[in-house]
């Protein structure tokens, strides 16, 4: 799990069994003490592998949306909740967005990748050796090197942690952009996520958005998953179109693409990919 604190925005991404939404009231309280008012909120998630393990009262997206409706201040009056389907029954994308006006947010986009059915040999790199006597930091560094995660964005400063008996989290920071990876490698329900942000004007330098494509390719190659879902949130349509260019060379075929518009963020495009049958 990860927390990113900018001067005027906070992003928290936690493993699926937490009651993440309970962080909103105390965060609003601390922000108010600093003279800051909430102007926009976005909550997103995929489908849970263990839906019955969800803690009450956040046991369904309906419950979560209700909690958000009741917790967010009234001046965030432009609100939308949406469940974006795909051709894969196990994959849907849940989005709740609320803002105080419909002006578009600055130029940042977000790419959220969820990978399942990881390559077993590659997933084993995220298990601790029993009794290795290492700290989580040292184990995390070893996993980063072993899996080549430091090569995904060579400019990023990596902060990583290896969990016992298995599991891995890392944050990469590169200027005002972050990337983050979380891995639960156990056979049968192996999962890895990759998320990064960027500016829709990044492309203007070299016009082809190759940096993003290269980064997404490298991130997915670390895990060689059989199933991938990619959610892009952006005011520009160029971002989601790049995703296919990163997946197809890895043998991943696009199985579905759904899009939806949300106040203040532009569009969310949800794509799913599966490994071509051998």
């Amino acid at each position: 799990s990860s927390l990113f604190v900018y001067p005027t925005k906070i992003i928290i991404k936690t493993c699926g069994t937490t009651q993440l939404l309970k962080s909103i009231p105390p965060l609003l309280h601390h922000a108010l003490n600093l003279g800051l008012t909430l102007s926009y909120c976005r909550y997103t998630r995929g489908n849970f592998i263990f839906p019955l393990s969800q803690p009450f009262p956040h046991t369904s997206f309906h419950d979560e949306a209700l909690y958000l409706e009741n917790t967010l201040p009234n001046h965030l009056c432009f609100r939308k909740a949406s469940v974006m389907p795909s051709n894969l029954p196990s994959h849907a994308w849940h989005v709740f967005s609320a803002c105080d006006q419909t002006r578009l947010l600055p130029d940042f986009y977000t790419v959220e990748i969820c990978m399942t059915e990881l390559d077993r040999t590659l997933a084993r790199k995220f298990f601790r050796r029993p009794g290795d006597g290492k700290s989580g930091d040292a184990a995390g560094k070893e996993m980063t090197e072993l899996a080549g995660i430091n090569k995904i964005n060579p400019n990023a400063l990596v902060c990583d942690f290896g969990f016992d008996p298995c599991g891995y989290s890392m944050n990469g920071i590169d200027g005002d952009r972050y990337s983050t990876i979380h891995v639960t490698p156990e056979d049968g329900y192996s999962y890895a996520s990759f998320e990064c942000v960027g500016s829709i004007y990044d492309d203007d330098d070299d016009g082809d958005g190759e940096d993003l494509v290269r980064m997404l390719k490298r991130a997915v190659q670390v895990f060689r998953p059989a199933k991938v879902s990619v959610s892009t949130t952006s005011a520009s349509h160029r971002v989601w179109a790049r995703v296919v260019g990163a997946m197809e060379p890895l043998g991943l075929k696009c199985r579905s693409c759904t899009a939806d518009e949300f106040p203040a963020i532009g569009s969310v495009v949800f794509q799913t990919f599966t490994a071509r049958r051998k």
Binding site: S1, S2, L3, F4, V5, P7, T8, K9, I11, I12, K13, T14, C15, G16, T17, T18, Q19, L20, L21, S23, I24, P26, H30, A31, L34, G35, L36, T37, S39, Y40, C41, R42, T44, R45, F48, I49, F50, T110, E112, T116, G140, L157, C159, D160, F163, P165, C166, S169, M170, N171, I173, G175, Y178, T180, H182, T184, E186, Y191, S193, E195
Partner: protein, 64 residues
């Protein structure tokens, strides 16, 4: 549930704030003390295991 106790698919929350004082906006939320952040994370059943920051933002790795 996975042996490690994790549910792979995550929940992600993004909150944007605005204020009147432009000078303030350079630091803003980064002034929230570490103890206060930890108190918020306790609500979420998380704790900080690693942290790094630069001129623009602070990044924390959390554990459930």
């Amino acid at each position: 549930m996975a042996v490690s106790g994790f549910e792979g698919f995550e929940k992600r929350l993004e909150l944007h704030f605005s204020g009147d004082d432009p000078v303030f906006l350079n630091v803003g939320l980064r002034q929230i003390s570490f103890d206060s952040l930890e108190q918020v994370l306790r609500e979420v059943q998380c704790t900080v295991v690693s942290a790094v920051g630069n001129h623009y933002f602070d990044a924390y790795v959390l554990s459930e």
